[in-house]
């Protein structure tokens, strides 16, 4: 077991394009670190640099106390689970798991003990004599994990290990990985593009975009205090709403009306002209329900035409279309592209309590918890209202969207 220290790591390919650009992350011993971002953000490249399958263009990589920049993968003592599992099809499950031990020239009794240990942990005992070709996706995934945990590696590296499983199995394996990691207490770096996996698994999460680290923080910090538009849009499901906003005094003018925000937040955004307000769907509530819970709704309620309602039982999603000025629309379209998604229209998604009686096509009174509102600079994407003490680490160069 060991800590992993990534210092100003850069990976440039032949054409000079930096796939990983000056990324610094310190991973503590035993920590579960998530690298997350849309495709092409350099997260897999970064992982492959840690394990030694990609050369490091510049920067320092230390595992434990050892500088490993120039070491071959086999000398780094890391275990990796590949996205497509990369099992050895000509070997049985037993020999697949035993493969690293055989290379380390352990004697047969020791190999047998360790393999059976790993296989019972992963409930693979009955499959030991089968070939990978005869296993299901989930079983193959477990064999790949078995091959990783069987030896005393300094750290585990996972490259999108669950992306090939169906949704149900993915949920199960996610819990399984979390349990295994807690039990073994081993340093883990986990690459994913799925923000749910990132939020649920990680002690800390590093959000990457186009090779640049955007924010390095705990899941809660990322959710409550995103450093910029990109992180705000990436973390959370359904994603954060972005609305054109103008601050005058303590009031924010939104497309639906004016709401009051805390003075401290307002001060930071005062006189900046047109801004982008970011409000999570969960920050909204049916005004009637909010009042019945004893919330003072007076200063932050607006009425809006609800277009579509999706009732999910425990909660209700209501969709409210709005018109945005072109400069905001352009910025948001750009953001959607970076997030690998496509917004068809500018609309507000609000998540209401399941007991709300709001129906589609009606005018509804909606309350917004304005303390949870963020205000972003439309030019740089920077979060003006971020609480820096609870936002982990936000690199300076990340602010340019």
């Amino acid at each position: 077991m060991a800590s992993i220290n990534i210092q100003n790591l850069v990976k440039k390919y032949g054409d000079g394009f930096p796939a990983v650009n000056n990324v610094s992350i310190d991973i503590a011993d035993g920590e579960f670190m998530i690298l997350v971002g849309p495709s092409g953000c350099g997260k897999s490249t970064l992982l492959r640099m840690i394990v030694g399958l990609e050369d490091i263009t510049s920067g320092e990589l230390t595992i434990g106390e050892r500088r490993v920049n120039d070491l071959a993968p086999r000398d780094r003592n890391l275990a990796m689970v590949f996205q497509n599992y990369a099992l050895y099809p000509h070997l049985t499950v037993y020999e697949n798991i035993a493969f690293p031990l055989r290379l380390a020239k352990l004697d047969n009794a020791e190999v047998d003990r360790l393999v059976r240990d790993a296989s019972s942990t992963l409930e693979l005992d009955e499959h030991l004599e089968r070939k990978p070709g005869n296993l299901s996706g989930g079983q193959r995934q477990r064999v790949a994990m078995g091959r990783a945990i069987v030896r005393q590696a300094d750290a585990f590296l996972f490259d999108e290990p669950l992306s090939n499983l169906d949704a149900k199995l993915r949920g199960q394996m996610r819990t399984e990985i979390a349990r295994l990691q807690k039990r073994l207490g081993i340093t883990t770096v986990y690459v994913t593009h799925d923000q749910t996996e990132a939020m649920t698994l990680g002690d800390r999460v590093a959000v990457l975009k186009r090779g640049l680290l955007q924010q390095l923080a705990t899941p809660r910090e990322l959710y409550d205090n995103p450093g910029n538009l990109f992180v705000a849009g990436f973390i959370g499901s359904p994603p954060m709403n972005f609305l054109p906003a103008e601050v005058t005094g303590n009031k924010v003018k939104l497309p639906f009306g004016e709401v009051e925000i805390p003075a401290e937040k307002a001060a930071r955004a005062e006189g900046r002209g047109l801004l982008i307000a970011g409000i999570r769907p969960e920050a909204f509530e049916d005004a009637k329900l909010a009042e019945s819970k004893g919330v003072a709704t007076g200063t932050a309620t607006f009425s809006a035409n609800v277009d579509v309602v999706e009732w999910l039982g425990n909660e209700t999603y209501a969709y409210i279309p709005f018109e945005a000025p072109p400069e905001v629309t352009k910025q948001l379209a750009q953001l959607e592209k970076e997030l690998d998604s496509e917004a068809l229209r500018t609309q507000l998604v609000v998540s209401l309590d399941g007991s709300s009686r709001i129906t589609a096509g009606t005018e509804a009174e909606i309350w917004v918890d304005s303390a949870k509102m963020h205000l972003f600079d439309p030019a740089t994407g920077e979060n003006l209202t971020v609480d820096n003490e609870h936002a982990g680490h936000i690199p300076r160069e990340a602010a340019t969207v």
């Binding site: 030694g52 993968p73 590949f82 497509n84 599992y85 990369a86 099809p89 000509h90 493969f99 005869n134």
Partner: protein, 292 residues
């Protein structure tokens, strides 16, 4: 139902026709091998031997007594057996060397990016297209100078050279099919590049290796032009070349029976080898390696 019966009957007839087309010559040769010289020399020989005799086999292999009570001529059988040994030795060594070199070369071609990769591949193909006959003269002169004329290496080297291109092409196609991650996983698991190659890549490419081996062995085993031109005695003469020396006492009446017998004898090992290797050529060996 009716179409079913028709289809079945059609398939059956087609099958029989193809079997006759392919196997008639083989049966003819086998039948010839059991005929005596008197019978093969007759004006209109019938398909099956009138009195089947093992004399041809006895003469060639030098065992037992002939039907006329004499011992088989040891000169004939010694030469033939020596030729068989030569054939086996030369074909096996050429196959082994060709497959080993081709495996290494194909791996490099499939995995590494280097300048002149296309050139290497096209050159290999050009060599494969080169007519062997045109090289007989130069090789003959060269081998005499290098003291390789009428030796095993004198045949092994050209056989290896002419089969390498095909083996490289076959194998590099196989290597390209193997996912890179296999090898990377092995390296992360603690293998050196060589160990990853030997323990993961080669076993996965086994079907390709065996395909290449069979093709190479066939070529070396059946080759005639070089075998007859680059040898002068039974020190290195292979069976196809040796068979051309079966002239018999009467130049107008060649020993067809013996020739047929020799053909049968040299075909048997080929059939055995194909059957053995065929088991190794299991398609889809890489299935299950990665999520498909």
């Amino acid at each position: 139902m009716k179409t079913d019966t028709k289809t079945k009957a059609g398939t059956g007839i087609g099958f029989v026709l193809i079997m006759i087309w392919c196997l008639l010559p083989v049966v003819w040769i086998i039948s010839l091998s059991f005929k005596s010289t008197a019978e093969t020399g007759a004006g209109s020989p019938q398909f099956l031997p009138k009195d089947a005799t093992l004399d041809n086999y006895k003469t060639l292999l030098g065992v037992g007594t002939l039907s006329d009570g004499t011992e088989p001529d040891p000169a004939v059988s010694d030469d033939f057996i020596q030729a068989l040994i030569n054939s086996f030795g030369i074909a096996l060594i050429a196959t082994l060397l060709s497959v080993v070199f081709a495996t290494l070369a194909a791996y490099a071609i499939a995995r590494l990016e280097f300048k002149g990769k296309r050139l290497v591949l096209s050159l290999a193909l050009a060599i494969a297209m080169f007519p062997v006959v045109s090289l007989v003269g130069p090789l003959f002169d060269m081998w005499r100078t290098f003291q390789l004329f009428n030796t095993w290496p004198g045949l092994i080297i050209p056989y290896m050279t002419f089969t390498l291109p095909l083996a490289i092409w076959t194998l590099s196609a196989f290597f390209r099919e193997i996912p890179w991650e296999m090898e990377q996983a092995a390296q992360v698991d603690g293998a050196t590049s060589w160990q990853a190659f030997r323990k993961v890549i080669v076993p996965l490419a086994a079907p390709g290796v065996f395909t290449a081996a069979i093709l190479t062995f066939f070529f070396a085993w059946n080759e005639f032009v070089l075998a007859i031109s680059l040898t002068s005695t039974t020190d290195s003469r292979t069976v196809p070349a040796q068979m051309s020396f079966f002239v018999g006492p009467d130049p107008f009446n060649p020993p067809y029976g013996q020739l047929a017998t020799a053909s049968v004898v040299v075909t048997v090992p080929i059939i055995i080898i194909v059957l053995l290797f065929q088991r190794k050529i299991v398609a889809g060996l890489t299935s299950g390696a990665v999520k498909g």
